[in-house]
């Protein structure tokens, strides 16, 4: 047993972390908001040059053929600085689905481009829950033509291709379409998180390519579980950043002539945050291992990672905001970016209630030996 990052992963973490620290300072976040949450192309290119976008894409498809945990390490660092790039949308959703379900031709055509960062993908949910496998759908597919307006889709504005799920008979059909199709309208939404653009996508009789045959709920659940682990690492990165900001600020800020950090209420609050993060991190590591190993308890492992990461980020972002007091309420402080982001990540791939339900159902099934 060896439950830690490998040396190579530690190096990757440092390398990616340094890149983000250098190229994604908080000033970039402020200008990103001013620019309407456009993603940052230079940052995207730097990351692409590191070669990490293709971490889990096989080498013969233009990727690096590393493990899921390597990609998770990148996500954690991106989450730490709130990097305004379509990493999650293009790689963890788009490439992930094409890799799982696309035909050989589709994989050969798109994955090298996604791995290099040259093209970008986005995923549109069929409705507003952040869940793939729902019966409720605002889009429909008839004779290969897609119509309707999707749920919120992250990074659609920067996407070259869009992946859509549509309920079909007893299962779901995943489809792929180029964003430039004339029957597509991308309508930007005003979101609570100001750093990642979301849109609804309206399709008017758009011919789409199927990504394989229709699939069942089980297949989609596994896809969503994997996705949720990537988000969990983003959340943990964000939570960790909040903890560090709060520590730095409270150690400096005097109140009643001693540092705010010297008050037991501050200490216990941040100890609670630390505990929440470490529990979440431990669950996330296990889930990443379970993905890699294709472990039997994949669903429970991923759900646990998702649930505890959401709790940790929510707590950390709130209490970081609180400890920054009046300063934290000013635009010049950085806490608010995390405070808003924590809400986005809590809901962008299924609410806590959805994951709690999945977790318990999976455990109950195991217990009854189904």
């Amino acid at each position: 047993m060896n439950f830690d990052l490998s040396e190579e992963q530690e190096m990757l973490r440092e390398q990616v972390g340094r890149l983000f620290t250098r190229e994604c300072p908080a000033s970039l976040l402020r200008s990103t908001v001013d620019d309407g949450a456009q993603y940052n192309l230079p940052l995207w290119n730097s990351l692409s040059e590191l070669g990490v976008l293709g971490a889990v894409i096989p080498e013969d498809l233009g990727g690096v053929g590393l493990t899921e945990l390597d990609l998770c390490v990148v996500l954690e660092q991106a989450g730490r600085v709130l990097a305004p790039i379509p990493l999650y949308s293009s790689i963890c959703l788009g490439a992930e689905i094409i890799l799982a379900l696309g035909s050989e031709a589709q994989q050969e055509h798109w994955l090298p481009k996604l791995a290099s960062g040259e093209k970008r993908a986005a995923l549109a949910y069929p409705q507003g829950m952040g869940v793939l496998a729902t019966r409720d759908s605002a889009v429909n597919l008839k004779s290969g033509l897609l119509s309707g307006k999707t749920g919120p889709c992250g990074d659609a504005d920067s996407a070259d291709i869009i992946v859509v799920t549509v309920p079909q008979n007893d299962g779901w059909q995943l489809c792929l379409v180029e964003a430039s199709h004339p029957g597509i309208t991308v309508e930007a939404l005003q979101g609570f998180d100001q750093l990642r653009q979301h849109s609804r996508i309206e399709f008017k009789d758009v011919a789409v390519e199927p990504l394989g045959n229709p699939v069942g709920a089980k297949t989609l659940e596994i896809l969503e579980c994997r996705t949720a682990v990537y988000v969990a690492f983003e959340q943990i990165g964000g939570a960790q950043a909040c903890l560090e900001m709060a520590l730095a600020y409270t150690k400096e800020r005097p109140i009643f002539s001693r540092p705010l950090a010297s008050y037991q209420s501050t200490k216990h609050k941040l100890a609670d945050v630390f505990v929440a993060i470490e529990l979440a991190r431990s669950n996330a590591y296990y889930a990443a291992w379970a993905m890699e190993a294709g472990s039997d308890d994949l669903v429970a492992a991923c759900a646990a990672a998702r649930i505890s990461a959401t709790q940790a980020f929510e707590l950390a972002s709130r209490e970081n905001q609180q400890l920054h007091g009046g300063i934290g309420y000013t635009w010049e402080a950085d806490c608010h970016f995390y405070y808003r982001r924590s809400r986005l990540l809590a809901l962008n791939c299924g609410s806590q209630e959805i994951w709690q339900d999945r977790l318990i159902s999976a455990l109950a099934k195991t217990a009854s030996g189904d």
């Binding site: 949910y125 409705q127 507003g128 829950m129 952040g130 869940v131 729902t134 019966r135 409720d136 749920g151 919120p152 939404l189 005003q190 979101g191 609570f192 998180d193 979301h198 005097p254 109140i255 009643f256 002539s257 001693r258 008050y263 209420s265 501050t266 929510e314 709130r318 905001q321 609180q322 007091g325 009046g326 300063i327 934290g328 309420y329 000013t330 635009w331 010049e332 402080a333 608010h336 405070y339 809400r343 986005l344 809590a346 809901l347 962008n348 299924g350 609410s351 806590q352 209630e353 959805i354 709690q356």
Partner: protein, 406 residues
Amino acid sequence: MDFKDSPAEAAFRSESRAWLLDNAPDYCISDDAEITENELVQKALAWQRHKYTAGFAAITWPQEMGGRGGTILEAMVFGEEEAKYKLPMPAFISVGLSMAIPTIRKHGTPEQLDRFARDTLEGNIIWCQLFSEPAAGSDLANLSTRAVKDGDNWIITGQKVWSSWAHHADWGILLARTNPDVPKHKGISFFVLDMRSSGIEVRPIKQISGASDFNETFLTEVVVPDSCRIGAEGEGWACAMTTLMSERLSSGEDDTSHAKQLIELASMVTRDSGEPALESSALRARISDLYVREEGLRHFTSRMRTRLSQGKPLGAEAALAKLVYANNLQEGSALAMDIEEFDGLFLEEPHAHRTRSHSDYIWSTAMRVAGGADEVLKNQLSERVLGMPGEFRMDKNVPFSELKNA
């Protein structure tokens, strides 16, 4: 125990209701009205003036001050009825009526009270508050704005933050340090500041909401006559306590039941099963928790008002109201987003409630900090209500000028 109006209260309620019905609608501002800040200010002052003419501007103030000489319960009754209209009452109204005048009344001279009370009541003065500083928030007594005596005047220099409406204000209430050589609570004096004086620069603070409801106010050698000092030199801390206690009582008055709104929302949102979201017992548990805290707070406030109306002193218990209110606001607005799941994060027609939940989730962070942060309020409750020992203080008997962070 009785929640219903007494006959006298009921009579006063009818009277208020009738008067409001005839008079309030002209002054109301609808939610979607496009109105400039200046128009808002003028409309608020006009409404204040109109209430004054009719004797409703300050129910509990004595008649000789221009008030009605009524009871606290009458003031509550009028407030409840007034709240049914969308009347313009920006913060500067309460800075004047609930902070400035009560402080002047308790600590100032009769002349000072004459100068300001009726004018404030009549809507002739816009007030702002100049207390907090970058290094003096929870630790307000740590303020470093200096007032130096110069003959009959004070020369005041420093930086104040979080003053709303300072850019419109006629007068400000100001705390400044008149003696740095005594421990920090003891060297502070309280002034009223003519905002037209030279040397005052007001800059908006951009908030995380994107708006700029507050200002930084820079004071550079502003000349303030000694006649504008309220209370004795060095009595400023006691004055500030009067001011802030009055504020504490007025906050938390918004008794909107967010929980009830959430029930309505959750009964309209359907889950993938086709059932309303409200069928989920997990959601019911969360809404219940919010409801019992909101209702508990509402009834707690009634208990405190009953106490006040009986002439009993109100202790730090009032801190409870702000503490619970701010945390409920944060929980409730997060829950509103959760109910609608991913969709709940996006402002779209016709979902006006989302605008509210987004801004509440942001504003709650200010509420948890302003006018006593959660942590300060819990200290107060434990020390003043539960009689627990004070925090260890290394700044208590040290002259301000010798403190490390001064």
